[in-house]
């Protein structure tokens, strides 16, 4: 499928379940180091996609320069991951797309504020993420560019039973695909049915749901969901 090379940015506060573990805060990588990484990736494989990951590319002060650098270096697609918080300002969404980012992965932990915010540990986090998705899609329409917004759901035992509703909510928002990134601590035998239900919810709503971090056998007759439309090299979920 579409191959992206991972460029971790460092920095920021990852959207993760605070009831499972405290989120880590790390220092953002310097621009020079990130440029060297981009050079290395595109030097080895010109015209591939790059995926700005880790926890907060949108918070990186040099993001616009780095997007421009990757575009000039020949990246076919530029994708990044975000909590969506930085896109609540519609101007930021427009700016992001103008810069050349075309695939944006927004992380969710639940189907609504009542489910998402307590796990994220941040009041208003769900609304911010949902607003970010909406702003991106609106900006794409305004600018006349093709953008793919991808929902990433970090799955743990605390949001397992909310998965079908979360997938439904993301489908309503208009995402192009969804990744269920399962926590390694999840017991596949107990969680497989809920994950499969999330996959089915996506299928009937015409949104592809891929699953990572879970043994394919645990998905039973939904094993195709172990395949994703995009592949990000060097990233776990």
């Amino acid at each position: 499928m579409l191959v992206f090379h991972n460029i971790p940015f460092g920095g920021g506060d990852e959207v993760s379940c605070r009831r499972c573990a405290a989120g880590g805060v790390s220092a953002p990588l310097a621009m020079a180091a990130l440029m060297r990484h981009i050079d290395a990736v595109l030097g080895a494989a010109p015209r591939v996609g790059v995926f700005f990951s880790d926890v907060g590319p949108l918070d990186h002060p040099d993001l616009p320069c780095l997007v421009d650098y990757a575009a000039r270096a020949g990246a076919s697609r530029i994708a990044l991951r975000t909590s969506g918080r930085s896109l609540t300002d519609s101007a930021a969404a427009v700016s992001l797309l103008r810069g050349g980012v075309r695939i944006v992965e927004v992380t969710f932990l639940g189907s609504c504020a009542e489910a998402h915010d307590p796990l994220a540990g941040t009041p208003g986090a769900f609304k911010a993420a949902a607003t970010g998705v909406g702003n991106l899609l609106d900006a794409a329409e305004t600018l006349g560019v093709r953008v793919a917004v991808r929902g990433r759901v970090r799955v743990c035992r605390h949001n397992l039973q909310d998965l079908p509703a979360t997938v439904m909510r993301l489908a309503e928002m208009g995402v192009s695909s969804i990744l269920l990134a399962c926590d390694s601590a999840l017991d596949s035998r107990r969680s497989g049915d809920w994950v499969a239900a999330g996959c089915d919810t996506g299928t009937v709503n015409r949104v592809w749901v891929a699953v990572s971090g879970m043994d394919r056998d645990a998905l039973g007759d939904k094993a195709l969901h172990a395949f994703d439309a995009i592949t990000i090299s060097g990233v776990d979920g």
Partner: protein, 423 residues
């Protein structure tokens, strides 16, 4: 039906938004030129979008107060047309409803048995048959006697013998040169030949006819010149199944289009045999105003290719895509999900293959088992289950379950979405 001339004939197309039916243009141009109908029949064409509600279609047609209505039916508009016909018969009980086109022609008797509002089906090429049918109706004769027509005789559905194909396509008056068909928003369809050199089991593009019959070069050149100059056409849509049918034809069409291309005229995405495109051919396409081409592979699974009688040379395919891209031509690679013989792994391998090529555009479609195709005939033999109602989407295959087919469709859509999201 009324006996008094002129016989009012309405031709109705439910087309993709923004298009007009070339098929109805041919049928009308031929009928208008038929001496048997001169002064006795009057024609109206109603080109509507396929999205129009059947009640509104019936309303629009009824307002024309026709005595004969002809619909051009494909798998995409069949349901709407059947609904509209049913309503129309209630509104105008005496109207004679004729349908033709790829969806109904191969299964004419089934269609008449299932659709009591429809009076006749024109099988095969419609131009001569429809004109003769109108002539027969004018004289109060029986429509079921007309070659190429399936109709009812005393309530029984009967088919007259097939009609021989039109040998000289130039005998069909040009819908453009006669003024029957006008361009829409600066674009127009062009057909330079009928038939298809390939025999792919899923395809009905050649309408079941292997013999290639061409319009004369003079006729094609006259149509293009008329449209490009008089009508100000900026975009031509060539509907030929294979644009690069032969090197000679490609050279000729390049020579025809090149002067217009220099003035900004462009060709809408054309279908090509990419495996026969090298740097020279790509350069010719570019000079002709081609910005994008559409091609297979449809599948990379050996078994499916074999069952569907389709050839695929991976190396030549890759070379063809590279040559086109090097010439600045975007390639749209098509895959069909649900071909018999393909496993889910084969479909995924196909997606990886076309994504890795980075051709410019990807198109994933679910198999539609079309009437008249080899797969329609051999569905049971090759393990295909499909919806008998149009558009005849595949339900399951011997290799892929119903659920996995739906999953692969959704995944294919996601791949297309992400592929399009590029700089």
């Amino acid at each position: 039906m009324s006996n008094g001339p002129p016989q009012k004939v309405a031709l109705v197309g439910l087309n993709s938004p923004g298009y007009r039916s070339l098929a109805l243009g041919y049928v009308r141009a031929y009928a208008q030129a038929d001496s048997r109908l001169a002064g006795k029949s009057g024609f109206m064409t109603l080109d509507l979008d396929v999205t129009v509600d059947p009640w509104w279609v019936a309303y629009r047609v009824a307002a024309l107060e026709p005595e004969v209505v002809g619909f051009s039916v494909t798998c995409w508009n069949a349901r709407s047309i059947y609904d509209a016909c049913r309503l129309l018969k209630k509104i105008l009980p005496d109207v004679f409803i004729v349908v033709g086109g790829p969806e109904v022609a191969p299964i004419a008797e089934q269609v008449l048995k299932a659709q009591p509002a429809i009076d006749a089906v024109v099988r095969g090429e419609g131009e001569e048959t429809f004109a003769e049918l109108l002539s027969v109706l004018l004289r109060g004769r029986s429509p079921w006697r007309v070659e190429g027509v399936t109709a009812r005789r005393d309530g029984e559905v009967v088919s007259a013998p097939d009609r021989v194909l039109i040998g000289d396509l130039d005998s069909i008056p040009s819908p453009y040169l006669t003024g029957v068909l006008e361009s829409v928003e600066g674009s127009a369809y062009i057909e330079t030949y009928r038939g298809c050199p390939h025999r792919c089991g899923y395809c009905f593009e050649g309408k079941g006819f292997s013999r290639i019959r061409s319009f004369s070069k003079e006729r094609v050149e006259a149509e293009i010149a008329h449209l490009a100059s008089a009508a100000g056409i900026l975009l031509f849509s060539f509907i030929d199944p294979v644009f690069n049918l032969t090197p000679e034809r490609l050279g000729w069409l390049t020579g025809v289009m090149e002067p217009y291309a220099r003035d900004g005229v462009r060709l809408h995405t054309i279908e090509v045999d990419i495996e026969r495109i090298g740097s020279d051919e790509a350069a010719m396409l570019r000079r002709a105003g081609v910005a994008s081409v559409e091609t297979g592979p449809q599948s990379v699974g050996e078994r499916a290719l074999e069952v569907c009688r389709r050839s695929f040379d991976r190396e030549r395919f890759v070379a063809g895509v590279s040559a086109a891209k090097a010439a600045g031509i975007s390639v749209e690679c098509d895959l069909i999900i649900g071909l018999p013989g393909d496993t889910a792994a084969d479909v995924l391998a196909g997606m990886r293959f076309v994504a890795d090529l980075d051709p410019g555009a990807l198109q994933m479609s679910t198999l539609h088992v079309l009437p008249g195709t080899d797969l329609w005939q051999r569905a049971d033999e090759v393990g295909l289950a499909f919806d008998p109602a149009p558009p005849h989407e595949v339900v399951s295959t011997g290799e892929i379950t119903f659920g996995d087919l739906r999953r692969l469709e959704v995944m294919g859509n996601a791949l297309m979405d992400h592929y399009r999201a590029r700089l």
